[in-house]
Assembly symmetry: C2
């Protein structure tokens, strides 16, 4: 490929609107151009990268035995009514009326369509297991589209759906996809983690997310230091759902309960400081309103350790709390008899339900608010100063240094979610009446899995993980080209232009994905472009070099360039660092 025959359009200025490095660099390198909020054109340069990701994804899906099809982007309302998601999916579902007033949605995901396909095409257990997949454009009407293609409204996704006769088969199909995803992200050259995840709006029994690790990631993930890099061997989970090892047994009480004056101390931190005790000895009371057995409102005090935070997703799974909300100040005054800042589970104004985090339930001699302005209680003990908690549950987020369930120590990192796999069970197949005849000749509802990869998001995530001040630093497998041959002064030095073209042709013939920068730019702007767009290997062909019989070679990640003779250069590019296309 000759760059003079390509359309490369880099920007000199740093785009003001871009908050994230990937967004800024993609605009600056001219990979994408915004058409509307969350809607982008992929330029020729950007598309080369997108297609490389797509190709790796497709190869690994095929290798895993998944079968590609192509479902429509426009889906009829009736299908979404069958699963109840026409209403439930929420505002991200872009609803459309055609000229005959029939209603459709631009597919944000394809569980309904693939289940409709399956109920017509699958008749017998003999056709199972089967996994269908597609690489296709999706639309989600984000309220706040931002960060370029990281959180775009229109985006490219690989979605796959497995059908099995039973839970064992579903787990096997799921494991195959897990392995395929691991190969995909490994081949793409990304540092990533597969972590346990909440199933969220898709629902189902089990799920894992694949995160590209980057400090700017929106998600916090926890992983046990027993695991290796990129490996799911150790415990790893999204902080939304991550668990620490259970605490040991509760120690015996050693102190009497006493009232402490805390006139201005409204936080656990302030009280611990006043008392000169570790924050871990205090417990924080969070007042929420859930439901009682009859579905009426029920006031609940949730207790987590002073150094912990309530995890809203975990809390929502405590029975009776599914649809909880924060209590109002009036409700707090009514039930606890106090204003916020001094709340506690001891002697409330009215009987309340107490939900204690695992760690709090295992504490003795702890400090809580006294439900009186300016006072806290110390030396508090369960069963003596207040009843045992009504419920004990894991309702807090893990923190760095927690003991992991697998014996390791939990570490926290930021990640960008680029893949998500789910065991759906029978949820969709049942709602849509999808059955196959089982071995006994009876109609059986298949068990499904669904598996998504954000193809366009991977491009942005890779940049978040791999960039420096000069621009993008592509992993080999994702680079628009792996080698750039830069020509110095081609117009005035035909011998140089010829030598560069010959080198380009030879590298291409050897299977390298090489581009010849024959645009005739001065070295400064030319090298700046090649660095900005992140080409892993740069070779400079100049008159001086030709005289000396050498080419200047520099890896994108290397501090310095080196002069190599032809054979040494070819060897270097053919080595483990030189990737073929």
């Amino acid at each position: 490929m000759r760059l003079s025959q390509f359309h490369l359009h880099t920007e000199k200025e740093t785009p003001a609107e871009a908050e994230l490095a990937s967004h800024r660099l993609m605009l600056k390198a001219g990979m994408i151009r915004k058409l509307a909020a969350g809607i982008y054109t992929w330029s020729p340069l950007g598309l080369r990268v997108l297609r490389k990701v797509e190709a790796v994804v497709r190869e690994e899906m095929d290798a895993a035995g998944a079968i590609e099809l192509l479902m429509p982007s426009i889906q009829p309302r009736e299908l979404w009514e069958e699963t109840g998601r026409w209403e439930k999916f929420g505002g991200q579902l872009l609803k459309i009326r055609d000229r005959k007033d029939a209603e459709y949605a631009y597919g944000p995901t394809h569980e309904e369509v693939v289940t409709d396909f399956a109920r017509h095409e699958l008749a017998s257990y003999r056709q199972l297991p089967v996994t269908f997949y597609q690489v296709q454009t999706k639309f989600r009407d984000e309220i706040r589209p931002r960060f370029g293609v990281m959180r775009a409204r229109e985006f490219l996704m690989k979605d796959a759906y497995s059908f099995d006769v039973d839970a064992e088969g579903m787990a096997a199909s799921y494991a195959k996809m897990h392995a395929a995803y691991t190969r995909i992200f490994s081949r793409l050259g990304l540092r990533f983690r597969a972590v346990l995840a909440d199933t969220g709006a898709i629902g189902g029994d089990a799920s894992q997310e694949f995160h590209v690790l980057a400090d700017s990631g929106e998600d916090a993930i926890a992983w046990s230091d027993t695991g290796n890099d990129n490996d799911a061997a150790g415990y790893a989970a999204n902080v939304e759902t991550a668990r620490a090892a259970a605490p040991g047994p509760r120690p015996a009480a050693t102190e009497a309960m006493r009232t402490i004056d805390t006139p201005t101390q409204r936080t656990c931190e302030a009280v611990a400081e006043l008392l000169g005790i570790p924050l871990q000895r205090t417990a924080k009371s969070v007042a929420v309103v859930g439901h009682d057995a009859d579905g009426g409102p029920q006031f609940v005090v949730v207790l987590v350790r002073g150094d912990h935070e309530v995890n809203e997703i975990k809390l929502s799974k405590v029975p009776g709390l599914g649809e909880y909300r924060m209590a109002t100040e009036a409700e707090i005054l009514e039930h606890l008899g106090s204003e916020p800042g001094f709340l506690g589970p001891v002697a409330p104004a009215k009987p309340v339900r107490v939900v204690a985090d695992l760690e709090v339930a295992a504490m003795a001699d702890f400090v809580v608010g006294a439900n009186r302005r300016g006072e806290h209680l110390a030396g508090v003990n369960w069963g003596r100063d207040l009843p045992e908690p009504d419920a004990v549950a894991d309702v807090r987020s893990v923190v760095e240094g927690d003991r992991a369930e697998d014996g390791g120590v939990l570490r926290l990192m930021r990640g960008i979610e680029v893949g998500h796999i789910f065991q759906l069970g029978r949820k969709y197949a049942e709602a849509m009446g999808c059955t196959v005849l089982d071995a006994a000749g009876k109609a059986a509802v298949p068990m499904m899995g669904c598996y998504g990869i954000g193809v366009s998001r991977i491009v942005a995530a890779a940049i978040e993980q791999n960039h420096d001040d000069a621009g993008i630093v592509w992993p080999e497998a994702m680079a628009p080209w792996t080698v750039a041959v830069c020509v110095i002064n081609p117009k005035n030095d035909p011998a140089v232009a010829e030598a560069a073209a010959a080198l380009h042709d030879e590298l291409a013939a050897r299977g390298l994905d090489v581009v010849l920068d024959d645009r005739g730019l001065r070295p400064g702007p030319m090298f700046a472009d090649i660095e900005l767009i992140g080409i892993p290997h740069r070779v400079v062909v100049s008159g001086r070099g030709l005289e000396a019989g050498t080419f200047e070679y520099r890896a994108r990640t290397a501090a310095e360039a080196e002069n190599l003779e032809r054979e040494a250069l070819l060897e270097r590019l053919a080595g483990p660092q030189g990737s073929r296309h």
Copy 2:
């Protein structure tokens, strides 16, 4: 590829709703499944064919120097307002409101988006010429979606857009695309014609359509027999716009005008029969209402030869007739003084404008209606019995046997439009303020071309052209697989299964796109499937064959199978008939 690991789902019954062979066969072969009106899922089998077409299109676009990008499917209303097409495009434009009430359309074409891209990315004439293309999903909200993917609402299209500094450059870019299209349809193995076309709603200066020839085609095309098959060397045009060679000079009058009694003869055919003269001696009068110089309504009599038909598209291009409509009976009575069936240009009740087709203007001694019930006039001559026509123009459709402009004879065929190329000129760039600096440093509006191929429609069109009673007969380049190895009784005869698998592997290693039918079906249903899905080459591996040391080979188009020894079979499949993937 092993068919047991694939999802093939053919139907035994012929789908009732399908009118066209391609629609019926695609449903029967399980290539597509309807999701909603004009919206289809491409099954794994169908997608294999679609991807083969897509790959050929992409290769030839790349070879022609076009540069691929990817524009969004969802386009903001504001862009379409700039060209006035938000209103003008009509009901096919699927309009959408997002959650913030902003308006968008699902792109039916991308002139606006690519021009927006160009006005940001192209700054200098040095960046021209450039042609961008994409392969992308489009939506057109057809009133009557039908014939499966032939006239679907959601479909896959390759659209390309060229930018040049001047008309000469535009013509050169257009010629390159014309050549690329010719290569594409040739490589796909289709019989086709490139024909001159009307520019329609896209507008612009010149355009050609590419038609796959098939009796069921919606379009009539005319081609001069000077041209060869698939070659644009001879004159060829859509009948909408096709011209015949101009007639010779008008002969001198030899008859006197006389009135003929035609009590029940209301058509040229009936009058000619009554008089015993050729239909070519009569002229048909069609009454329409156009516009006068001030834009007011103007009654017009259009004359075409008795054996010809008025061509509405040509007629609409006669000055003053752009927005014409058919005259009402009341208007006809007022202006001509007669009822339909006896109309003519001689002695109308009021002065009327007369538009004569080229052929009619060159006639002498002809027959027309007398504007009196039950009477026609014979021996009519221009300039003597009535004034010379107000306008002479080509306003009729060509017919089989017309002389062509290039000296040949025009033949008519039916075609399916699968490609359309346009010279747009400055229409879009001007409306959207897209300029580049020219060599003199002045802002210049580039000249554009646009070039579309209906990728998904090609699949249906190829089937219309290539099928028989047993099913589809794919051209090699489009077949889901080029060779099927069918195994007889694999479960009970492991040696046969092994030999078939070995043959499959060897053919695959030789680069053939081969599928092993190891599903264990009985020969009848297995062969029926393989014929239905149109595999060009079938090899049967059976116990009897193994004993004899032969394989049964049959080309899809051959009447009989033959038994070939291994080497002869390999040679046959590797020959010009065996295509590599």
